[in-house]
């Protein structure tokens, strides 16, 4: 339970911190860190408008997306403290729950038959297809390294298994952090702030969602960002620390990550769209390095 609680708490301010950091770097005051949630509350108070050419598929999208992210949150542990649900192979369920949510959003985007949303859906499907190997190669390597196949067991044994665990934690933390950027449509792959439909990836798919539905999608986005952050941060928190210190470190690292995203987004331009596959594949390539390191460590060759 502690993991779910801390994830929910983080999702309250992490999106706001990214926005605030970007504002400060560009010399503006920026909105408060809770503004994204105030916006969501405003959206939730509104009704949704459905295009007359869309069907029930469109209306399923937002709800299923949020539901899938919430269920996925149940399997994510906080350091050695167990997640709400834990069973061998739960990371596979985690990945495909997120994929399910994405699938529903993609078909709801296709359902409104708009040229823009079709393009966005195409891009999103393509990029997540490329990003999936990175996640599975990484989790597979960690499973092989620790000998366990659930998030909780993997994270509880990661730090004690071997003195090489530090290197492994750093590589996996890095891969997961980049995976988070891709999955959450941040720079350099996507630009969540752009108003230009033709360059959007994720944002263009939800152009037709409005009011309550849009609010649900934004909640899901915020949760997803923190969830994936948690996966990489878990690699860095020592388990022999007192729980208070662990919580503080966790919150601090979440904030640092959010500020880091804000920093990166302030001081570089986004990728040319055609460069994105290369960028995403490079994440998989790094996770491949990890699997070879672990094979060698385990004397498999």
């Amino acid at each position: 339970m502690v993991s779910l609680l801390i994830i929910l708490i983080c999702s309250l301010f992490i999106p706001g911190i990214i926005v605030k950091t970007k504002a400060l770097f560009s010399g503006r005051k920026g909105p408060g860190v809770f503004q994204p949630w105030l916006d969501i509350i405003r959206l939730l108070k509104k009704g949704s408008v459905y295009s007359s050419v869309s069907s029930y598929v469109f209306q399923l999208g937002a709800t299923t997306y949020l539901a899938s992210v919430i269920v996925a949150a149940l399997v994510v542990p906080f350091d050695q403290y167990p997640s709400v649900i834990s069973f061998p192979g739960d990371f596979v369920m985690f990945a495909y729950l997120l994929a399910l949510g994405r699938f529903l959003i993609i078909i709801s985007a296709l359902d409104v038959s708009s040229g823009f949303e079709g393009m966005g859906a195409n891009r999103e499907a393509f990029y997540s297809l490329l990003a999936e190997p990175a996640f599975f190669i990484l989790m597979g390597s960690l499973a092989m390294f620790t000998g366990y196949t659930s998030f909780h067991d993997i994270y509880s044994h990661l730090h004690y298994a071997d003195r090489y665990a530090v290197i492994i934690a750093i590589i996996s933390g890095y891969v997961l952090a980049n995976f988070t950027l891709v999955e959450n449509s941040r720079l350099p792959v996507d630009d969540p702030l752009t108003h230009l439909e033709l360059t959007m990836v994720h944002e263009v798919m939800v152009l037709d969602h409005s009011g309550f539905d849009l609010g649900l999608i934004k909640i899901a986005n915020n949760l997803k960002l923190v969830l994936l952050n948690t996966l990489s941060i878990n690699c860095f928190i020592p388990q022999d620390w007192p729980v208070a210190l662990q919580v503080i470190t966790f919150l601090l690292l979440q904030t640092v990550f959010a500020a880091g995203v804000g920093y990166v987004e302030s001081f570089r331009a986004r990728n040319k769209m055609a460069m994105n596959p290369q960028f995403i594949l490079s994440i998989s390539a790094i996770s491949l390095i990890l699997i070879f390191v672990i094979i060698i460590l385990n004397n498999k060759i």
């Binding site: 010399g27 720079l187 630009d191 230009l196």
Partner: protein
């Protein structure tokens, strides 16, 4: 052989009787000969006089600063057929389309005979924007993406239709004409001098100084008023300030498109003091109210001059380090280099002007080739790049920004040393325009050459007024830049050109 075309200089006036009127075959021959010799068309239009349709073409010679004029006449009747000159000189396509739309002239063999702007007084009222003949390719593999007419950033209306193969654009067709202000006919129906001056400022508000300068110079040349060196310097300062402000704004805007926040913030916030300066000077951030025929209500003064020098220092200090950083940033270079290339041959073919020409190796700058106002006595350097991509358009803005800052500084100092009192604007009732004459006025606005032409009647009243914004030529450059490019690169290409919708629609 006697002179085949009349020759005047920029902001010159010529009696209509001195412009040779030739038969259409002869017209084609002379125009073909002149344009093959490297002249480019700055305006070609028709107007109705009685039951006759009069056509006049203005071709600018960039090497000696002259403008060649030639006319032909046809009886005005429906279904009038003329051979299309666009076949030999594609840059005339837009002018022939305009004449065809306004007067129902059928240019046989025209490669792209489509409506231009759906003016209210067009010849064929059955042509509607809803049945615009889009270019189509029948294929199951290709798809069309339509953008607009309502713009995502809610700027101005324009419809863009992409024929795509996956993410790659095969063809972009730009359909404009959604705004119907009727600027050219308003110039005739609103006879007041102030009305007309304000109208000229509103043709395209981002070029208000450029367009109003073209208008007041035109009227001054028709009325035989010499504005005097001091007034010309002040007008030139205003024009360069407009260029600086717009270049800063565009540098910021393209960076927003690339999601490079730092540069967009720095250039964006730097634009504000520049336009605020213009407001301090004349009460309007876009310089409206500054250009008036024969004088100025807002004479420049020493206090303003000192402020302007400070402002130029500030612009230079802030913009230079930011530009250095920007043009050395790998992610920016990846995003801008070789994106949206238009070759020099294409640029010459479509007759692009101003920045859209200079970024692709065509040195076309009215300030240098047909100098007006202070550029006559105080020449400015013009930059030309050859790459023709987004990078070149950004770099060109950066270079022109620097040049303008230096130029404004020098000109301000010259003003401080030499200025004389500036008279108040001329009174309308005392203004007597040359009768039965034709006048042309070219001004290099920040986008490129702004061209205003007027024809006067026997009592000196303007019987026809013609406005040409550089965007009229340059929209085609944007369409060409998208060929075989990813559709996601369209927004930065569009921003890197930043063409005028209302300058085209009029």
């Amino acid at each position: 052989m006697t002179a085949v075309s009349a020759v005047i200089r920029n902001q010159g006036v010529i009696p209509l009787t001195r412009i040779p009127v030739v038969s259409y075959p002869e017209f084609i021959r002379v125009v073909d000969e002149l344009m093959t010799g490297g002249l480019h068309c700055v305006n070609y239009f028709a107007w109705a006089e009685g039951d006759m349709l009069k056509f006049i073409i203005c071709l600018a010679n960039d090497s000696d600063g002259t403008i060649h004029l030639l006319m032909h006449k046809s009886p005005k009747r429906t279904g009038l057929q003329l051979d299309a000159l666009s076949l030999q000189h594609y840059q005339l396509h837009i002018f022939e389309r305009e004449i065809s739309e306004n007067f129902g002239v059928d240019f046989t063999g025209h490669p792209w005979p489509k409506p231009v702007r759906y003016a209210w007084n067009r010849a064929d009222q059955s042509k509607l924007i809803n049945n615009y003949p889009f270019y189509k390719i029948d294929s199951d593999e290709l798809h069309e993406v339509g953008v607009g007419p309502i713009h995502a950033g809610v700027i101005e209306p324009g419809h863009f239709r992409f024929l795509c193969n996956g993410e790659t654009v095969l063809h972009l067709e730009i359909q404009l004409g959604w705004q119907h202000r009727g600027v050219e006919s308003l110039f005739l129906t609103k006879p007041g001098l102030l009305q007309r001056t304000i109208l000229s400022e509103s043709i395209a508000s981002d070029t208000s100084v450029g367009h109003s300068l073209a208008f007041v110079s035109l009227l001054e040349s028709l009325a035989g008023i010499n504005p005097g060196e001091t007034l010309e310097m002040e007008r030139t300062l205003a024009l360069e300030l407009e260029r600086i402000a717009m270049h800063l704004g565009d540098l910021s805007n393209v960076n927003i498109g690339m999601a490079y926040q730092l540069a967009s913030a720095v250039f964006g916030t730097l634009r504000t003091p520049v336009i605020n300066y213009t407001q301090t000077w004349c009460g309007n951030r876009f310089g409206k109210g500054l250009n008036r025929v024969g004088g100025s209500h807002y004479p420049f003064n020493d206090e303003l001059a000192a402020k302007l020098l400070d402002l130029m220092n500030k612009v230079e200090e802030t913009a230079k380090p930011m530009a250095d950083r920007l043009f050395g940033l790998p992610s920016f270079l990846m995003r801008s280099e070789s994106i949206g290339r238009v070759t020099e041959a294409q640029t010459r073919l479509i007759g692009a002007v101003g920045m859209a020409a200079r970024n692709a190796g065509v040195a076309r700058d009215i300030r240098v080739t047909h100098p007006f106002a202070s550029y006559r006595n105080h020449p400015i350097e013009s930059q030309t790049l050859t790459q023709g991509d987004v990078w070149a358009r950004m770099m060109l803005r950066n270079l022109e920004l620097n040049d303008s800052v230096y130029y404004v500084r020098d000109l301000t100092r010259t003003w401080m040393d030499t200025h004389e009192p500036v008279s108040v604007p001329a009174e309308e009732k005392k203004l007597q325009l040359a009768a039965d004459s034709f006048a042309v006025s070219l001004v290099e606005g920040w986008r490129g050459e702004v061209c205003h032409c007027a024809v006067t009647g026997s009592n000196g009243a303007i019987v026809h007024y013609k406005v040409k914004d550089p965007s009229l030529h340059n929209w085609m450059a944007l369409a060409l830049s998208l060929r075989n490019l990813e559709i996601s690169d369209f927004p930065i290409n569009n921003k890197s050109y930043n063409l005028s919708y209302c300058g085209f629609d009029l």
